[in-house]
Structures are given as C-alpha cells and as structure tokens.
Amino acid sequence: MSDAATGGVRGLADRIADYMLDASVLERIVIAVVATALALLIGSIIVAASGYDAVEFVSSLVYGAVGNVSNLAFMLRQSSMLILTGVAVAVAFRAGVFNIGVQGQFVVGGFAATLGILFAAPVLPQSPLSGVVLMAFATVCALVAGGAYAALPGLMKAYADANEVITTIMLNFIASGVVYFLLDAYLRPEGAAAPNTEQFPDYVGLPSVVFESPSFSILGLGVALVTVVVIYLVMDRTGFGYDLVTSGYQEPAAKYSGVDPQRMIVRTMTISGMIAGLAGALFAIMILGYYSDPNTFPTFGFDAIAVSLLAANNPLGVIPAGLLFGGLDAGGQYIGFTLDVPSELVDGVIGLIVLFVAAPELFRAAGQYTSLGGDRE
C-alpha cells in the first residue's frame, strides 16, 4: 500500500486484504457465519417441529437460490435491492444514526420516480433515447424525494431530540398510507380494479443482458455495486466520510475537530435516504414497470437492517451480506411455492440472525466455554 505506483484497483484490493487480516474483521466474519448457521439450524428445528421435512427445507432453500438460471436471476434481483438498501442503512448506522425508515424512503423514492416517468413521458417522443432520459429524470426525482423524506426525521432528531428509531418507523407507516391513498385516488386508471398506476412506456426499462428475465437486468446489480463502491470511497477517502464515521464512534472527538453534530445528523440521513430512494427507482423501473400499493411490496428496507448489521455496517461487507440475504429470500419464496412451508419462516430466520449478531458476547462466551479460545466458535 505504500507503493504510490499501485493503481486504484490494486490499492483497493490491498486494502481489502489488509482488512481481512485484521483480527476484529475476522472475528466479525466468524460471528456473521455462525449467527447465520445457528439461525438456519433453529429455523430447521422449527420446520421439523411443525411437521415438515427439515432436510428438504434446507435443500429447497439452496435450490431456490442458485438451483437454476432463473432462480439465480431472481436471487440476484433480490440481492441488488438488498445491497442498495443495505448500504443506505449502513451509512446511517455507521454515523450512529438508527435510520429504520429505509423502507419508507424506498417507497417514497419509487413513487417519485413513477410520477417523474408518468408525467414526463407524454412530452417526449417515443424512442429508446427518451427511455434513457426518462430513467435519468426518474432517478433524480427518487434521489430528491428519498433524501427529503429522510432529512425530515434527521431534522427532528437534530433539532428537537426526537428519537429517530421511532420517528422513522412512524414515517414508514405514513409513507405507505399516503402513497396508497394517492395511487388509489388519483393514479389508478379508469375502471381498473387494482390500485396500480398505468404501465410505464415499453421503452422505459433496463435491457436484459446475460439473464433472460423480465424483472432482472445485470445492470441493476451494476447500479447497486457502483453505489457501494462510491459510498465506500466517500466514507474511506474523504474528509466528509471521516467526519461521518467519527461522529458515530467518537462524538466528542468529532465535535472537537469542528464537526457540527446537528448538521452531520441531517446530512447523514439525507444521504441514506437518497440511496433508499435510488433503490425505489430501481424497484419501480426494473422490477415492476408500474407502481402499486406499497403495503404489498417486499420489505427490502427492513431486511436491509439485517444486511447492514451482518456486514458490521461496512459498505463493502454489504455485498456478501446482500447476496446471502438475496439467496435466503429467493429460497424462502421457492419453499413457499413448492413445499407449502410458509415463506414467513425465512423472515423469522432473518430476525434470529439479527438477534445473534446483536450479541457478539454470546459467541465469545461460547468460544471460551468450548475452550476453543478467542473468537473461534
């Protein structure tokens, strides 16, 4: 790393390698793996106790995630969403702000993207170029709306001391309720039974590359990965990122070095909400192709909390954690269809993973008890 001649990519790889060798990072990886294994074990026991076949449950879970090309595409689609929302959570948690409102910011961002496309489409000619322009415009709408919707609880925390865990959860409920109301009252086409908007023009959408899937494009995964790298670089290489991380871990030090903690909270929340909004735009454009009742949406914004925590709120760690949870999600839906095992079970397993990750002392104690020493399980 001391060699100035090493390129950006090489430097990045070196840094990752350095991180891997760091004992505390290794410990966190061990904790993440053990927590996941333990949660799956408990999940299997519950499956068996409920009268289902536990072995079939686990093998179907794996098959549902990576068993064939279309399952893999579905898993990567879910992973793309979880990586994006996971980074949104990680940015805030890193700065010591518990943004539980990513789901609401995601809903609002997707809605803003939808409005952008539906209102701008009639004024543009019907061409693929218009599609690109519309998607760019929709993304800007989503970034602004998601950022603003997160800035609100940020302001409430910074200037009125309102606990952000609670305000963001309330704003999640409010986002779903208001968006549903607006869809139902104003955007539902004449005579349509379901509260859906009309379809986006067919030139709006990401092209199918590599995978032949109508709702997944490898470009979507690309957007998620690029976002991760950008956020990683911002947090690791810029003064702003340094201030952000020190605000989370060393508030007095950050204050001493001249960081305004109030403004930092608002800025952190805004960035977190912008990423959540971007996830909403991707969801509307790539997955749905229209917009619908947010109460029926997958809870990416909540699962993202688990993703971020499993990654110890490290943006790069969000990638493997997001892939894992995308796999769990895809596998869970698969078992729901094929085994009649309710897919909610996987939500419970995700909850257990979060619970175990929250208590690293549990594993240290277990490690000592089994006299394996240190952080080994």
């Binding site: 539980i100 409430m156 001391d161 309102a162 309330m170 409010i174 109301f181 939500d347 979060v354 549990l362």
Partner: protein
C-alpha cells in the same frame, strides 16, 4: 383523573399530557358540524378500549427503561402475545366453541410464555450485553416472521378464524353511575384492570422500596450495588415484566377486545408497540401520565369512526395514519425527556 397533580414528579409533563387531551377534545368539539358531537360516551368507550393494549405495553416498557434497559422489542412481544392468546384459546377448545374460561386461561398462558421469551431476551441483553436497539428490532422481525408462520401452521393462513373475546362485565351498583359507570363498570373488564394496573404500577414505582431499586438501577447503578442490591437482578425482573405486559397487550388485541389474530402486513399489532414507547416518553416515565398518553393515541385511533358518524368521510388509509402523525407531533413537541442516566449501559459489578 383529576387531582392527580401532586402525584406527578414533573408538573410540566402533566400539563403537557392534559393540555394535549383537552386540546384534542376541544378541537373535536370545535369542529361542530351538522350531526352529532364527536365526543360522545361511545367515542370515549372506544378510546378506552384502544388505549388498553398500548397502556399495558407502555407500562412494561416504562419499568424496563426506568431500570436502565431500553426494551425496544415491545412491538415484537405484542405480536407474540396476540398470536399465543389466539392459538392457546383455539387449541384448548379443540377447535370447537371457545368459552370465556378458555379465553382467561389463554391470557394466563400468554403471560407465562411471553415471560419465558422475555427471559431469553433479558439474558441476551443483560448477561451477554447485546446491543439493545438491534436486539429489540430483532424481536420485532422474529415476531413478524414466526407470528404469521405459526398462524399458517395452525390455521392454514396468516390469520386465525374469527374468535370470541372477553365478555363485558357489569359491576353491580357502580355500573349505575352515569357516564363513568358505562365507561368503566359496564365495559370489558380489561379496561378496568388496565387502569388498576396503572395505579398499582405508580404506587410500586414511587412508593415502595422495590420501586426505588428500579429507579436506582437506571439512575445510579453503582450506588444500588453498594447498598447490596443486585442491579442485574432488578433489571431481569423489569425486562421480563415488560415482555409479559407487552404480551398481554397483544393478547388484548386478539382475544380481549378484537376477534382473533390477523397476520397480514405488519400484523394486527400495527405499530402499537412503537406507539407504547412514545406513550411512556410522553408520560415522562410516570405510569399515570403514560396512561393519559395511551388514551390520547387510542382516541386518535378511533377518530375515524367518529368522523364518519358526523359525516366527514376520509379514506381509511388516511385516518388510519392519525396515531402515527400524533406520535411525530408529540416527539417533536415534547422533545427531550429526561432519560434515566444509565439506560443502554450494561452493568458489571466490580471485582
């Protein structure tokens, strides 16, 4: 609830809660549109019912936080309580007719089972020093997952069939009192029990030695330790108590006042556990103020019906949001409440 002023530690909190209540009622009276009043005995009856699950969970959470542990898992324990109540009542009746006795046994089972779950949670928080916010969120996720899962295993769908609930009980003589009689003594016994629990919680917290231990565990654990009281034992007790109370609050929703378990979306608990946290913050950690705040949120929850009766029909998706908006206004308006100083810190005895 008059003449309770001297009972409050903080007069400002009392004024805040009462002021908000009066403001809401006045606002409702002010909107004097053709038709009947918004504030009717029926409306108060519904508000009291809606306040009951919130108040139960809030008083539990209040005790935990007073002792230094932020139990953010109230929402999750409410989901467990709602499910277990419905499931036990259904199972012991063998899928047949559910009697009142079955329902009361189910309440007892909820207390025991959520007590066991809360003990596990307390061990993670206290013995293994888990992050209280993250672990509390995890309880919610686990409830959101395993609640509907268990419902599907039992009933083949995420919701239970329609179940009976606890009958109204009329207390002789007292039920004859105008208004108050109908509200409290000719109503669901759970409403009255919750008020009794509220007063008892106040007495224990501020007038008994055990209550002082709870407060000391949150404010100055070292002093309590020096006095020879095991801080962590006090905290175990309050966390388990908070889980049981939230569980009972959930059971009130499913088999106390409601008609079975609903597992769609974020389940029938629908954020009431989070509202309960705000209720005790708004009540400034005082059980009586907490009940008042719960009543305010309960009234908000029931406003939709009142608006309909006077001819204002807002869509349900909007009126359903009133309690959440009220929570935001309260949190921003009340701002900083004095959190017990040792909240969130695990306590290790020296040596």
């Amino acid at each position: 609830m008059s003449a309770t002023g001297t009972l409050f530690d903080d007069r400002r909190a009392l004024l805040g809660v009462l002021g908000a209540l009066v403001a809401v009622i006045a606002l409702l009276l002010f909107v004097d549109l053709p038709g009947s009043d918004l504030v009717t005995v029926g409306a108060l009856e519904r508000a009291l019912q809606a306040a009951t699950p919130i108040a139960l969970a809030a008083i539990g959470g209040l005790y935990a936080e007073k002792s230094g542990v932020f139990n953010i898992g109230l929402e999750g324990f409410m989901i467990f309580g709602a499910l277990i109540g419905a499931a036990v009542a259904w199972l012991i009746a063998g899928g047949g007719d559910i009697s009142q006795l079955h329902l009361w046994i189910a309440f007892g089972a909820v207390a025991v089972i959520t007590g066991v779950l809360a003990t596990l949670f307390a061990v993670l928080l206290i013995r293994y020093e888990a992050n209280q916010i993250v672990a509390g969120l995890a309880v919610w996720f686990i409830g959101l997952g395993f609640g509907p899962f268990a419902a599907t295993v039992l009933w083949g769908g995420v919701s239970s069939p329609s179940l009976p609930n606890i009958d109204t009980i009329a207390v002789p003589v007292l039920a004859e009192i105008p208004v108050l009689g109908r509200l409290l003594f000719d109503a669901s016994p759970l409403v009255l029990l919750t008020i009794v629990v509220t007063v008892a919680a106040w007495v224990v917290l501020f007038r008994t030695r055990y209550g002082y231990w709870v407060q000391a565990a949150g404010e100055n654990p070292e002093a309590l330790d020096t006095a020879g009281v095991d801080v962590n034992r006090v905290r175990y007790a309050t966390v388990i108590f908070s889980g049981v109370m939230a569980g009972l609050g959930g059971a009130v929703l499913s088999i106390g006042i409601g008609s079975g378990f609903t597992g769609t979306g974020v389940t029938m608990v629908d954020g009431r556990g989070w509202i309960a946290i705000v209720a005790y913050l708004f009540g400034n950690y005082n059980p009586l103020g907490t009940y008042g705040a719960s009543l305010l949120f309960g009234a908000m929850d029931m406003l939709q019906i009142q608006l309909q009766t006077i001819g204002i029909s807002l869509p349900g998706s909007i009126t359903g949001l009133f309690p959440y908006v009220a929570v935001l206004i309260v949190l921003v308006g009340v701002g900083y409440t004095r959190v017990p100083s040792a909240v969130g810190e695990s306590y290790d005895t020296e040596e």
